[in-house]
Structures are given as C-alpha cells and as structure tokens.
C-alpha cells in the first residue's frame, strides 16, 4: 500500500503539471487538441488523486488531513474536481490554466513534504469526520473557485471598458460564461458546504452533546453559508447580475478567508488535529 501511495504521490504533480502546461498552451494558442488532452489528463489526475487519498487514508488508518501539507493535497484534489465539473458544464477550457496552476502548486508542496508516518488521532480515525471534512473542504473550494471566476470577470470587464485588448482579453472566455461558471461553482459551494456543516453539527452533537457553536470558526462558516445562500437567492429572484454581483462574490470570500485566518491564528479551537 505504501508503495502505491509513494508512486501516486510522485505521479500526481507530474500529471497536474503537464495538464497545466497544456491548458496554458490552449489559453495562448487556442488549439482545441491541447484543451481536450489537458481535460483528459485532468480527469486521470482527479481519479488517481482519489485513489491516492483513499490508499493514503487506508495506510494511515485515518482521514489524511492531519498536517497542513496533507490538507494541501486534499485542497488540490477539491479544486481539481470542482474545476473539472464546472469545465464540463460549460465546455469552457480557457480558465483551466489558472486553477490547474494552483492545483499543481498545492500538490507539489504536499508531495515534497510528504511523510508517511502513522499517528493516532481518534478524531481523524472517525469515518463520519472524513465525510464532514470532505464536504466542507469541497464546498469551500467551490466557493474559492467561484471567487476566482468573479475576479476574472472583474478584470476582463475592466479591460473591455478600458479597451485593453491584451493577453487576458484574448484568452479569457466572455463575461457571460465567466458569470455563469461563477454561479455554477457558487451553487456547488453552497450545497457542499451546507452538507458539510450539517454533518459537522450532527457529529458534534453526537460526540459532545452540543452543536459545536462554541467554536467561532464554526459560526463564521455558518454565517458565511447563510450570506452566500441569501445573496444567491436574492440575485436569482431579482434577476440582478453583472459586475456588482461579481464584486460582492469576491468580497464575501475575502471576508470569510480573512476571518477564518484571523481566528486560526489567534484562537486554538477544536478544529486543530496536531
């Protein structure tokens, strides 16, 4: 099992790396062959990554997110799979280079600092925890992807307004597609994060007889989810779209990120495992 883990650990950054280069070539040269090959390679990467995470978890007898470097690999997987889904929904390959760069970086760092040591953390060994964490991380990754799409929208809209017909103008898809991909990623994020949070509360109640609301990180995530859901629902209902909704999307994620980062830095909550 360890041999498989080590092999996949080396193979994953290579696959993601090649896929990134191909997406990059597509972004610049717009040769469909590159995009199709990159997409196939990404799918292979995602499937192998899943095998890697399962075999790693099996080998370690726990959910593989104990250290930051393990979490990076999980993050890479989450971004890769959510991006793949949004790409397939719109058959739009031009933004792949941005997401795959992040995926490759995360996985490379994780690979370089990989240690196959077994530790005994009861919390991480619980399978329900794995499901809760998977959904939460997937949800957060989807919201991060939605934010990147929103950011691309803002940059492209600015370039179009200012008549800067540079490489981003040439490479990125149209504003409507970016907006639609952001919406798809946001819906994915709301659903997955919602499921993750619900499972988390349920699990906390089962283990500690309370919903875990004492942890500020939990209620901030709860508030963020409510905010995302409310904004998504109200924009859908009123038909409002365009630059403002994209700016709002960016700010919402930045606030969530900053708040969680601040809390992570200053407070030692139960979401620490080492």
């Amino acid at each position: 099992m360890l041999k498989l883990v080590i092999t996949l650990n080396i193979l994953l950054p290579v696959i993601y790396g090649i896929s990134t280069v191909l997406y990059g070539r597509y972004f610049i040269y717009k040769k469909t062959r590159n995009a199709k090959f990159a997409s196939i390679l990404l799918l292979c990467g995602v499937l192998l990554h899943l095998v890697f995470l399962i075999s790693k978890g099996w080998h370690l007898q726990r959910f593989p997110i104990e250290s930051s470097f393990e979490s990076l690999s999980m993050l890479a997987f989450d971004i890769a799979i959510i991006y793949y889904v949004t790409e397939r929904l719109k058959r739009e390959y031009t933004t792949g280079v941005f997401f795959l760069t992040i995926v490759t970086l995360c996985q490379t760092i994780s690979t370089l600092l990989f240690r196959g040591e077994k530790t005994t953390n009861e919390l991480l060994a619980n399978p329900l925890f794995g499901v809760h964490t998977s959904f939460t991380l997937l949800g957060l990754s989807a919201l991060a992807i939605a934010t990147l799409y929103a950011l691309m929208y803002c940059v492209l809209a600015r370039q179009i307004r200012n008549r800067q017909f540079g490489i981003l103008y040439e490479g990125l898809p149209d504003l409507e597609t970016l907006d639609s991909m952001r919406q798809n990623a946001t819906i994915c994020g709301i659903v997955l994060l919602g499921l993750g949070i619900m499972l988390g509360h349920f699990w906390a109640y089962k283990l500690f007889n309370h919903f875990g609301l004492a942890d500020p990180k939990v209620w901030i995530t709860d508030i963020a989810l409510c905010a995302y859901a409310t904004i998504w629902w109200s924009t859908k209902k009123s038909g409002v779209h365009g630059l403002h909704t994209n700016i709002l999307s960016v700010w919402l994620f930045v606030m969530l990120f900053v708040l969680v980062a601040v809390l992570e830095f200053f407070l030692n909550t139960f979401h620490r495992f080492v």
Binding site: R161, R163, F165, G242
Partner: protein
C-alpha cells in the same frame, strides 16, 4: 506527360483593375464550357480548373506548350463569353509548376486575398474543385492539386490565427459583443439606423443566432424592410430610451447630427435594467452621448475609432502569422510536388517490372509441358520470389531518386530504354 507543365494564368486585385476583372469573371456555366473545351481532347491543354471570384479570375492549366496558352484563352473568351481581349489588356500573372502550386495554396489560405486571411476564399476554391469533379473529365493533376489546396487552406486556418480577429467595422462590433455575451439567441439587439451598415451588423449577429432585433429609424419603411429580413420589431426614435431597458446590445449607424441616445434618459432607464449593456456607436458624428459610459460599470461603450483600433490590431496580428502560414503552405506544396514527380517515374517503374516479369514468364513457359502441375507451381513460386527480389532494388532506387529530384527526363528515357521490351 513529362513535357506537361502546371501553369497559372491569373488576373487578380494586384495586377488587374476592377473593370477588367468584372469583364473576365466567369460564372459556373462558363467555367463548365471552358472545361468541356479542354475535356474534348485538346492537344495542348490537358487539364483546366478555374477560380473566379470578385477579386480574381485564375486559370490553372496543365499544358505541353504554355507559350500558346494566352491565344487559347482569348479564343475561349471570344467563343464562350463573346468577349475579346483588348490590345492593351492588363498582363496576367503567369506562373509555372512549383510557383503555380504555391500560389494556389497561398490563395486558398487567404494569403493572397485583398483582406489578409479572408475566410470566403477557401469556400470559393472548394467550389472550383467541385466543378472540376462534376465536369466528368479526368483531370488527375489538378484534382490532386485542388484537393491539397483545400487541405493546406484548412491547415493554415486551424494551425495559425491568420484568419482570426475582425477586419471590418461590422465584424469588430460583433467581436466585441462576443467577448461580453456567450450567445445571442436570448439577447435583444437594438439597431438605430436601417442603412447598409446596420444591415451588415444585423447579418453578423443573425449568423451568431440573434433572433430578437429592435430597429429604430427615422424612415419607418426602411426599418420594416430590415425587420422583415432579420425578424424583430420596429420602433420610432422617441421610443429608444424605453427600448434600452430591455436590450443587451445597441448599435447606432445613422447620419443624425445629434445624440439619439441621451445621458439623462439613459440614466433613468438604467434603474430598470441589470447586467452588461454593449453600446456601439458607428455613426459620425456620434449618436450616443459619450458621458453614458460613466453611468454604470456594466455599460461598455465604443465608437468608430475604437473599432478601427481593433481592426488595426487584428491586421497586425494576422501579418505576424504570415511566416507560419507560409511554412505550412511550403510543406503541402512540397508534398504535392513529390507526388507529381512520383507520377513521372511511374511509367519507368512499370517498364522495369514488366521487363522482369517477361523474363519470368518466358523461362517458365519452357517447363510448362515438361513437369507435373505440382512441380510447375513450385517453380512458379521460386521464379516469383527471385524476380521480386531482383526488381526490388531498382524500383526502390527509382522511387527514392524521384523523391530527391535526381531524375531528369533524359535519365528516365535511358532507364526505360535499358528495360524496354526485348
């Protein structure tokens, strides 16, 4: 066959004024008449294909006496089109073999077009090829030439960006719109003005799936004609502000000396709408108040100068693709010429094979009545094996030399002479 040459006689926008081009341009029927004249056993001209568009009329011919071609062509014009070449007719572009092949490939790629990288020409070359195929006559050299020209044209279009980027005002407006909207099926387009430019813009949008046009013009009849053509409704000029609330694209192309889309009306209307609004002002003087741009971050306003800049940039980008396109053309032209050379050597190869097979047959005949059927079969197998091995070396050498252009006609004659029937 070895004396036959591929010749191009071409009149195009570079060497011929439009008046003369108009006179010599040929319809499909006339091209078929020219083809028939060649197909019915012409001594000099063995094959013919014609590319006739508004910018060029070019004759691709396979002829043994190229010097007599102009006479033949002028006679054909007199006979088929009742047109006599004047004494001071413009001189055509005459190219032979490799140059002619490269020229056709450059034409199909859009390198020779008036607007560099123009897209229509490939379709026109395809049309010429289809006429060639439907003529019913066997024109093997030109069939292959046109087939390869189409392949080369497609390769240039897929492997380079020579044909990408708008190079006309109408297309530039549509190109900008495509950077904002994914498709136009559900979007409304407001055309202010119903002239030629508006029609062209409507045509480009319609080709991308736009179905909902709103047309505003001073003369209602003109608007109605356009609305009937592309589908949509007609409004008067004073209904423009209200229309702004329901459209996604506004294009103005009129001669009006005043703003038709004002600042205050637009400001009021913006409260009723959401999402990006593309406004393209192709009119001179401008018809959209330039201050509107600052009313919302979702308004993208362009005037004719912006579109001209887009076109200039695109033309520069296309020019940058010429070397890459040229190398693709060279590759396909080289392939075609190799194939052509291999045709020259084919009769000689056939002669070599026939020579050895004759020897085999004659020697086998000596044993036909002397051995049993089974033994004869074995002998036949043995003889075949030996003959194949002996002829393999000269045949491969001939093919290789043909590919490397090491065989001229005298050498081919000499080899044919050596292996001629005894």
């Amino acid at each position: 066959m070895e004396n036959e040459q591929i010749v191009l006689v071409g009149y195009d926008h570079k060497n011929t004024p439009v008046e003369f081009r108009d006179k010599i341009s040929l319809t499909s029927d006339k091209i078929i008449s020219f083809t028939k004249a060649v197909g019915k056993n012409n001594d000099n001209v063995r094959e013919i294909a014609v590319v006739s568009t508004c910018n060029r009329t070019e004759f691709y011919l396979v002829a043994s006496k190229p010097e007599a071609l102009m006479c033949w062509l002028s006679w054909q014009y007199r006979y088929n089109k009742q047109f006599s070449f004047p004494y001071q007719a413009p001189k055509p572009n005459i190219l032979y073999n490799q140059k002619a092949v490269e020229h056709l490939f450059a034409v199909s790629s859009g390198l020779e077009s008036l607007i560099l990288g123009e897209d229509q020409i490939l379709g026109q070359v395809k049309e010429s090829y289809n006429l060639l195929l439907s003529s019913g006559y066997k024109f093997p050299l030109l069939n292959k030439l046109f087939e390869q020209a189409i392949v080369a044209g497609k390769a240039v279009r897929t492997q380079t960006t020579l044909c990408q980027g708008a190079v006309s005002i109408g297309l530039a407006a549509v190109e900008l719109a495509r950077k904002i909207f994914r498709s136009f099926e559900k979007h409304r387009i407001l055309l202010i003005g119903a002239g030629e430019t508006s029609e062209l813009v409507a045509k480009h949008f319609a080709s991308l799936g736009a179905k909902q046009f709103i047309i505003a013009n001073r003369t209602r009849e003109k608007s109605e004609i356009l609305a009937e053509k592309f589908g949509g409704k007609v409004i008067s000029l004073d209904q423009i502000p209200m229309a702004l609330s329901e459209v996604n694209v506004v294009v103005t192309a009129t001669n009006s000396p005043t703003y038709l889309v004002g600042y205050e009306e637009t400001k009021k209307i913006l409260k009723l709408r959401s999402g990006p609004l593309l406004m393209v002002d192709i009119s001179t003087p401008r018809n959209i108040n330039p201050g509107i741009k600052d009313l919302s971050q979702d308004i993208f306003l362009y005037n004719i100068d912006d579109l001209r800049n887009v076109i200039t940039n695109n033309i520069e980008k296309r020019k940058g693709q010429i070397p890459e396109a040229q190398s693709i053309i060279d590759y396909y032209a080289d392939n075609y010429l190799k194939w052509r050379r291999s045709l020259n050597v084919t009769p000689t190869i056939k002669a070599v094979i026939r020579y050895f097979e004759d020897i085999r047959d004659k020697e086998l005949e000596k044993f036909s009545n002397k051995v049993s059927a089974e033994e004869y079969q074995n002998l036949e197998k043995l003889a075949n094996g030996i003959i194949k091995k002996i002829q393999h070396q000269p045949v491969v050498a001939l093919q290789k030399m043909a590919r490397k252009q090491q065989l001229d006609i005298s050498k081919l004659h000499l080899i044919s002479e050596i292996y001629s029937e005894r």
